[in-house]
């Protein structure tokens, strides 16, 4: 497919790798911000091909992973209500709340539906006027415009039985929080390409300057990632700290103005708790007062939600790049994708899950012999 196949060419990959190997003279630690990039790196084995001296730190850019436990528990409580149709992206269904997940709610008879788009949830609301349809609005700046549009349309079409449980997060405050951490080891950022497709690159020069850190806007195909790494290495080796757009086919400096203005209308910036990390000032969006009527937290005053995060989980350290997943004592033992302790183990974007699924050969002793399971 056009724009994909060309950026998966092994011959060109080899040229980029040659350049990286040739350029790198000492150890560098860089963070790919986005979980989609983590996924691509691990799935294609790109990290195995880089010089050993280049360390990729997997960033907090998985909205599933960072959605706070309290919000998950609220979602579970709302989804269990008999009159509610609860719609969600598929990613959220296996994210563990305090004592279960949305899949469990669905299996127990709750009307939980996976949708591809928030507009699908809106359509479900239109077709089920007697029911309350709640959409779980999670995501970074890439997803926020779609969710904003769904709320906006609900109002203009008068679809009163639609509401959204909003837990949006914003990337730049998270980068800032990481850089402010005293343990911070990140020397360069591969910024999230699709976030920049929406927001543009205007938020980054100040960050690059303040923290003296190169910021390379990076895409998701293997060549895109290699190119991001390559440009970061070149800046690092030269002691530079510029914002560099390595994904120009999809990212323009001004982003998408129509989307940005819709975001400004429907949402307002708020402090937001990140699972495993804690509250980051100004790092989230919530519905602005004009759309408060569509806020599921407002509509369903779910009380008695008691959250209890596992004490063994070090996903906060993983999300900040302080440890690798396999350095967590729970990794692969009491915490596996089948029984995840933390969110980073449940999303296939999550660093812990990526390590477990794709890197078990390198990081852990071989799995015990599997139990006989008749199949067919």
């Amino acid at each position: 497919m056009k724009y994909i196949d060309e950026f998966n060419d092994p011959d060109l990959a080899r040229r980029l790798l040659d350049d990286i190997h040739a350029t790198t003279t000492r150890p560098w630690a860089m963070m790919e911000v986005c979980g989609g990039q983590t996924h691509s790196i691990i799935r294609h084995g790109i990290d195995q091909l880089l010089p050993d001296s280049i360390e990729l730190i997997h960033g907090p850019g998985c909205p599933v992973c960072v959605t706070p436990l309290e919000m998950i528990d609220k979602a579970l409580a709302i989804a269990s209500l008999p009159d509610v149709i609860f719609c969600s992206f598929g990613d959220m269904l296996r994210v563990p709340g305090t004592d279960r997940d949305l899949f469990r709610v669905k299996s127990a008879g709750g009307d939980v539906r996976v949708v591809y788009s928030p507009l699908d949830a809106l359509e479900i609301a239109r077709q089920n006027p007697g029911r309350e349809v709640v959409f779980f609005g999670i995501g970074f700046e890439t997803t926020a415009p779609a969710n904003a549009m769904a709320v906006h349309q609900a109002r203009s079409l008068g679809i009163g039985n639609f509401s959204m449980l909003v837990s949006h997060v914003r990337v730049p405050p998270a980068i800032e929080a990481i850089m402010q951490s005293p343990d911070c080891r990140v020397q360069a950022f591969l910024a999230a390409g699709h976030v920049c497709s929406v927001m543009g690159t205007g938020e980054y020069p100040e960050l690059a300057e303040r923290y003296k850190v190169p910021v390379v806007v990076t895409g998701f195909e293997p060549l895109d990632i290699l190119e991001g790494v390559r440009r970061a290495v070149h800046q690092l080796e030269r002691g530079e700290h510029r914002v560099d757009n390595a994904y120009p086919r999809a990212v323009q400096e001004q982003g998408n103005p129509a989307a940005i203005s819709m975001l400004a209308e429907v949402f307002e910036v708020t402090d937001r708790a990140w699972r495993g990390i804690g509250t980051i000032p100004g790092s989230g969006w919530r519905l602005s007062p004009a759309f408060r009527a569509y806020d599921a937290e407002h509509r369903f005053r779910v009380t008695g939600v008691r959250t209890q995060e596992s004490g063994d989980c070090r996903s906060g350290d993983v999300l900040q790049g302080l440890i690798k997943p396999n350095e967590c004592a729970a990794f692969g033992t009491i915490c596996t994708p089948r029984n995840p302790l933390g969110a980073t183990m449940v999303s296939s974007e999550g660093a812990c899950a990526a390590y477990y699924l794709y890197r078990r050969l390198d990081t852990a002793p071989p799995a015990p012999p599997k139990e006989a399971t008749p199949v067919g």
């Binding site: 992206f89 598929g90 296996r94 477990y356 699924l357 071989p366 067919g376």
Partner: protein
């Protein structure tokens, strides 16, 4: 979403209860179907219940799956299906015309597969106590002399062949659920594989392992065989035939084609010495025209499936955690 993708109960969780309770070793074989001897005749016997939603999808229906699924499980023991049972559990309120269309599909699929529906049953349960239509089929077939096809026989050195492009069935199902559209060519691959297996056996009775990569896709089938045989499986990812629409749909839904269901494909583990001839015989059959070698059995990482990426990296290919769901990240 189909059934049983999550929740507290899972087939895996439950199935370990059965083999010990039944007090025989027949279920321990991890095969699609069980080889038996009755009055000196070697038979394959298999059962499956079909709870798939939607009932109708591009290229077929639950009726086609119920026939082809069991016919294929028999074929995976090298047996040509002879007789099927077909038992319906219907939920009150299901349209009679729906049942009729499914019955027609069962009949047509049976004719296409050369199998007879020999015995049947119908139960009706109250509304809210079923889900439209559940079907169970069980099948029996003869295993030719000298054939011994089992997951345990996969061994380092075997080449792994897939009979054709993967992911068509699962994507066809998803196209209904997610409102996708495709060109005419994306329909379920559901098909009876007995004839293809016969053509392969004509080349050599010494096929080690066959499996139809249905629920859970190629990745699941390879893992099950690796686990049963103790061999390592190395998958050459770039060699796996993924049709462009499947890659496209998986791309924007965030799915991995290796985990998408197929209903008319098989994986064959074949001694390297026979591989060329088997591959040629497969390609001469309509259902194997696009057969391809996609991997090999290795002594490394016993019991595990590892993919080599097109860039030369490797990653573990694990069992899935239930059904794949469309994702945003």
């Amino acid at each position: 979403m189909g059934h049983g993708g999550g929740g507290a109960l899972s087939a895996e969780l439950v199935e370990h209860l059965f083999a010990p309770a039944y007090g025989n070793d027949l279920l321990a074989g991890l095969a699609d179907s069980t080889a038996l001897t009755l009055a000196g005749t070697r038979l394959a016997f298999s059962t499956d219940s079909y709870v798939v939603r939607p009932l109708f999808f591009p290229g077929g229906s639950i009726g086609d799956l119920a026939v082809n699924g069991t016919v294929n499980d028999l074929a995976m023991s090298g047996a040509r299906a002879a007789y099927l049972s077909c038992a319906f559990i219907l939920e009150e309120g299901t349209d009679l015309s729906v049942v009729g269309r499914i019955a027609q599909a069962v009949g047509a699929a049976a004719v296409a597969a050369g199998v007879s529906i020999a015995t049947g049953d119908t139960k009706v349960v109250d509304a809210g106590h079923g889900d439209g239509v559940f079907i169970n089929t069980s099948g029996i077939g003869l295993i030719p002399h000298g054939v011994d096809i089992r997951p345990q026989r996969a061994t380092p050195g075997d080449l792994v062949i897939v009979s054709g492009p993967i992911g068509m069935h699962g994507v066809a199902i998803m196209s209904v659920r997610e409102g996708l559209e495709f060109g005419v060519e994306v329909t379920s691959d559901t098909a009876p594989l007995g004839g293809l297996v016969d053509a392969m056996l004509d080349v050599t009775p010494d096929l080690h392992t066959l499996r139809d990569p249905t629920r859970g896709g190629v990745a699941t089938a390879l893992n099950e065989i690796a686990a049963a045989s103790g061999t390592g499986v190395l998958l050459h990812e770039h060699a796996v035939p993924v049709p462009e629409p499947v890659a496209g749909a998986c791309g924007f839904l965030g799915l991995d084609p290796l985990y998408v269901a197929n209903e008319g494909r098989l994986l064959a583990f074949v001694p390297r010495s026979h591989a060329d001839a088997v591959l040629a015989a497969m390609r001469a059959h309509p259902l194997g025209a696009q057969a391809a070698v996609i991997g090999e059995c290795v002594t490394e990482h016993p019991g595990m499936v590892v993919a080599r990426t097109r860039f030369g990296g490797t990653r573990v290919v694990d069992l899935p955690l239930g059904e794949q769901l469309p994702r945003i990240c």
